[in-house]
């Protein structure tokens, strides 16, 4: 072939290799949670932040000059949740900025120091949804808010009046400064624990009469999982209890804007009397080529929180959950475009928009939620939403759990592979059961026409010879959930020749993987390379697999 192969095409043809490479990286990958800081000073709700420049990295090898918020040098951030035991970091610049985690009713004080290049001029932070009580020093009032001049600082004070997830971002020349990376999230936790929810750190005993969310936490505790939640609920409302949570911030990046900004910063003359100490970076026409969640593109996105290779991109996107766990998604649109974020596997119940709980009536005690159910949660610039997702496998008409009396139980658990339906049809009476939360109406309904390992015959489908198909890196090795069912059905290698997948091994995890991604599909690319961009794999893991979000 005489024509040189363009990067995009060559990467596409090499896709299996690319994915295999990602899988290798993922062997030590941790899971996600919603990490952040509760303060930088020892006083809850008081933060010293700095805006400064650095380069962030993208999976195509590019380093992109950016601006971000970080923790001021010398500050002593307190990281939450404390169950994240990997050494967390808050450098002087990160994208997204530090997730500020405060409690309803708390006074929040944010002091921002402007360490951006002098030519970049002033900077600031907007906190939409809160009312500032701080006053602005003379000469620092900008168009939208109080600003910090180069080298100077500004302090914002407000009360975290209501719970929820919200965005914060630069209020100064936002077309450039937000594009450069000056954005982050603030999470306000409710100050009460609604009836039926369990506060973090309280290990419930798992009585059969407990609410489901509490029983889920008991199952986690039985299997030795730490609690990675920030709070017992998303809002002061009993239908907002949750068992896990993840924060996803969507943004895109046009590298030409960043390289022009760097060139102009380097060319600017900021000595006294010079009139070239300024930037005039065009932000239109806009041609983003990087599409990021939490400042990273796939596959970097699925690496650990605080991974050393991304010193300025500490947050990941690597959600995991067990069947039936109520998983809180905190989703924010940063940047300037909308992105249709498609959650494979089930719908999401939207709880709130920008921290405003959506109920059937304006009465705060109304028991009924009124937010929509979505399989595609469109992100909008500056807007945040909270939603609840779960997966149970209900209604498939075959037993995806595939447990039987031969199933290996955790050592301390009673042998228990029966399915005793609760009022909703799920096996929840015993949080220690290997098939906790199985959908009992399909229990023991085979999938296969022929016997499949020790899984009986008589089902509707004939499974293919795996050698005739291309097996994915996240294919657990069988149609079934978890290593017990997979190994009993197909042996220790699963159906994946020759020795099983690394990202989701048949003998240890064998979870069900679902792609969560932008459905404006060109955005699941990194600088024209597929796969990349706004794409991650969510895994539903069998109950006995320990989901460790400590890194």
């Amino acid at each position: 072939m005489s024509t040189p192969i363009h990067q995009a095409t060559s990467m596409k043809r090499l896709l299996p290799c690319v994915v295999a490479g990602a899988a290798l990286w993922l062997t030590t990958a941790g899971h996600a949670a919603a990490p952040g800081i509760s303060d930088t000073t020892g006083t809850a709700g008081t933060f010293n932040l700095t805006a400064s420049p650095a380069s962030i990295t993208q999976p195509d090898g590019q380093a992109v000059y950016s601006w971000g918020y970080g923790c001021t040098v010398g500050s002593t951030p307190n990281f939450v949740p404390t169950s994240i035991t990997t050494t967390p970091t808050c450098t002087t610049m990160q994208i997204p900025g530090p997730t500020l985690i405060v409690t309803e009713g708390q006074t929040v004080t944010v002091t921002l120091t402007n360490n951006l290049p002098t030519a970049a001029g002033n900077t600031s932070i907007l906190f939409p949804g809160f009312t500032l009580t701080s006053t602005c020093p003379a000469g620092q009032q900008g168009l939208l808010t109080c600003e910090a001049p180069p080298g100077g600082s500004v302090t914002y004070t407000f009360t975290a009046s209501t719970p929820g997830t919200r965005a914060y971002y630069s209020g100064t020349q936002g077309d450039l400064q937000v594009e450069m990376g000056l954005y982050g999230a603030i999470i306000v936790l409710p100050n009460t624990v609604p009836v039926g929810c369990a506060a973090p750190g309280t290990i419930p005993t798992g009585s059969p009469t407990d609410p489901l969310s509490v029983k889920n936490l008991a199952a986690e505790a039985f299997h030795g999982e730490a609690d990675f939640r920030l709070a017992g609920s998303a809002y002061d409302h009993p239908r907002t209890c949750y068992d896990r949570e993840y924060l996803f911030q969507f943004s895109e990046m046009d590298p030409n804007i960043h390289s022009q900004a760097l060139a102009q910063v380097n060319a600017a003359n900021c000595t006294a009397g010079s009139n070239t100490c300024r930037l005039e970076v065009p932000t239109e026409p806009y041609h983003p080529t990087y599409f990021m969640i939490n400042g990273r593109s796939m596959p970097d996105l699925m690496d650990t929180n605080y991974a050393v290779q991304y010193p300025h991109q500490p947050y990941n996107g690597n959600p995991h959950m067990h069947p039936g766990e109520l998983t809180l998604l905190r989703i924010i649109g940063q940047g300037r475009w909308q992105h249709p974020f498609h959650e494979h596997g089930n719908h999401v119940r939207i709880l709130a928009r920008d921290g405003n709980l959506i109920l059937s009536s304006p009465v705060p005690t109304d028991p009924n939620l009124a937010g929509p159910l979505l399989f595609t949660t469109t992100t909008t610039p500056g807007q945040a939403m909270d939603g609840i997702f779960y997966w149970t496998g209900k209604g498939l008409n075959w037993d995806i759990y595939a447990h039987n009396p031969l199933s290996t139980q955790p050592a301390t658990a009673p042998v228990h592979a029966a399915c005793n339906p609760d009022a909703n049809g799920y096996n929840t009476d015993d949080p220690t059961a290997i098939n906790y939360f199985e959908w009992c109406q399909d229990h023991n309904k085979p999938l296969q026409v022929a016997p499949f390992g020790d899984v009986p015959s008589g089902g509707p489908a004939t499974l293919p010879d795996p050698n005739l198909f291309t097996n994915g890196a996240w294919f657990g090795g069988s149609p079934y959930l978890g290593p017990d069912a997979t190994v009993r059905a197909v042996g220790p290698t699963g159906t994946t020749p020759p020795s099983g997948t690394i990202a989701n091994p048949p003998t240890s995890e064998a979870g069900l993987a679902f792609m969560w991604h932008s459905h404006n599909e060109r955005e699941i690319t990194t600088n024209n390379i597929f796969p990349g961009g706004m794409l991650m794999m969510m895994l539903v893991d069998s109950r006995e697999f320990l989901i460790d979000e400590s890194n």
């Binding site: 596409k12 041609h287 939620l369 796969p531």
Partner: protein
């Protein structure tokens, strides 16, 4: 409960538990779509040029709740690019509580090589307007046209004529497989209506969801799939050149695979294929015919891979009753329908819109709920929308074009007759 209300449900469930096809005949029946489809989507075909079945949209799939659904996909390769060894899959977009094995994501399951076939197995999920597409290299395979329509009709259509819809909906809560109770399930989208009602299963028409109050009644339903083509991307791919993704820029804007005025050309369109013969390529016109006084359900989905798309209605109000294959109803049972003149969808979204050509409905016997099967005049004054041609079009005005040609693109006609 009226005796029929539970029997229909039991009988239906027994059907799939004992694997006895087919299913109870539809009551009323929808005339428009099945007749449109049956004439020219030949399910005996296999993919012969490059998009599913060589058709855009790919073959339409209409299921009834509780149907068992077997779908076999065969990958026959591509005549025009014999150098490519692309796999293909089917992603049933929006399937609740999906299994990853049959979800069609190649990374999480198996992908179908050339010369192989694979059979997907589903139980038709909750009623709603879904869609399907290939999930291999989605920015490429979707842009190239591997997209199709898929919807599930509710159990409520099978309620015996004259039986209370509210009671029939209540009967579904007596079986765990069909129950939907807000207090128990945060992902329940169609709880019992907030108030009881006297609406009975009509002798005509059908329902979009198990609403229990007849509010999603329609006389005809029309699937409308929005799509976009970037001719440069297609040309580059066809001519063995590398494809860029970031600068993808659609120049053709399609409803059911066609741009205006082809959207209002009756019957299937055909094009010459690589074998030199004409084959059906775009089976579905998008002409919305509504007899004056009746209601049409539009099942609108967007599978454009680069932009959000807006579709507006000129003259006939749009009532949005469902979103992302779920009834718009709060946990208390209040309908959250809204009336608008335009809807906007990102890639991978769908919604249900009712176009009602009756301006004022009478109420059902013995109740206060509107009777959507009737549109009598008030005295001598007709309550129906004037007969004539109305339009569905995009107010993204640069999308009302076919590449360099003005007056085309994302537009079709609503004919009230």
């Amino acid at each position: 409960l009226p005796p029929g209300a539970y029997q229909y449900l039991e009988g239906k469930l027994a059907d799939y538990l004992t694997e006895v096809p087919p299913f109870a005949p539809e009551v009323g029946g929808t005339v428009s779509i099945p007749s449109q489809v049956d004439g020219h989507v030949d399910t005996r075909q296999i993919m012969d040029v490059g998009i599913m079945n060589g058709n855009l949209p790919a073959p339409l799939m209409a299921l009834d709740e509780d149907d068992e659904f077997f779908l076999t996909l065969t990958n026959v390769g591509m005549i025009m690019r014999p150098d490519l060894f692309e796999q293909h899959t089917v992603h049933f977009h929006g399937y609740p509580n999906a299994s990853s094995f049959y979800d069609g994501v190649p990374d999480a399951s198996v992908a179908i090589n050339i010369a192989a076939s694979f059979t997907y197995y589903y139980l038709a999920p909750d009623a709603g307007s879904y869609f399907w597409h290939c999930h291999i290299t989605p920015p490429e395979h979707l842009q190239m046209g591997m997209v199709g329509q898929l919807y599930v009709r509710p159990r409520q259509n099978r309620v015996p004529v004259g039986t209370s819809l509210y009671s029939a909906r209540g009967a579904q809560d007596l079986d765990l497989r069909t129950a939907c109770v807000s207090a128990n399930d945060i992902l329940c989208s169609n709880p019992l209506p907030a108030a009881s009602n006297t609406v009975a299963r009509a002798s005509t028409g059908n329902y979009a969801y198990n609403d229990g109050d007849g509010s999603t009644y329609y006389d005809r339903d029309y699937p409308l799939q929005i799509h976009g083509f970037d001719p440069n991307f297609h040309f580059v791919g066809m001519t063995f050149n590398p494809e860029g993704f970031a600068d993808m820029k659609d120049k053709y804007f399609l409803l059911n695979g066609r741009s205006y005025p082809d959207t209002v050309t009756p019957g299937p369109l055909q094009t010459a294929s690589a074998d030199g013969a004409n084959h059906f390529s775009q089976p579905l016109p998008s002409i919305i015919n509504i007899p004056a006084g009746q209601r049409a359900l539009l099942r609108i989905s967007n599978l454009d891979v680069s932009e959000y798309q807006t579709l507006a209605s000129l003259g006939v109000p749009m009532q949005v009753v469902g979103y992302n294959a779920k009834l718009l109803r709060d946990q208390a049972g209040n309908n959250l329908y809204y009336t608008t003149n335009s809807i906007t969808l990102g890639g991978g979204e769908s919604l249900d819109v009712i176009l009602d050509t009756c301006l004022a409905r009478p109420t059902v016997a013995g109740g206060t709920t509107p009777d959507y099967t009737s549109c009598p005049p008030t005295g001598a004054v007709s309550n129906t929308l004037p007969k004539g041609t109305y339009y569905l079009y995009t107010p993204n005005l640069d999308h009302l074009s076919n590449d360099a040609e003005n007056f085309g693109g994302l537009m079709t006609e609503v004919r009230v007759n």
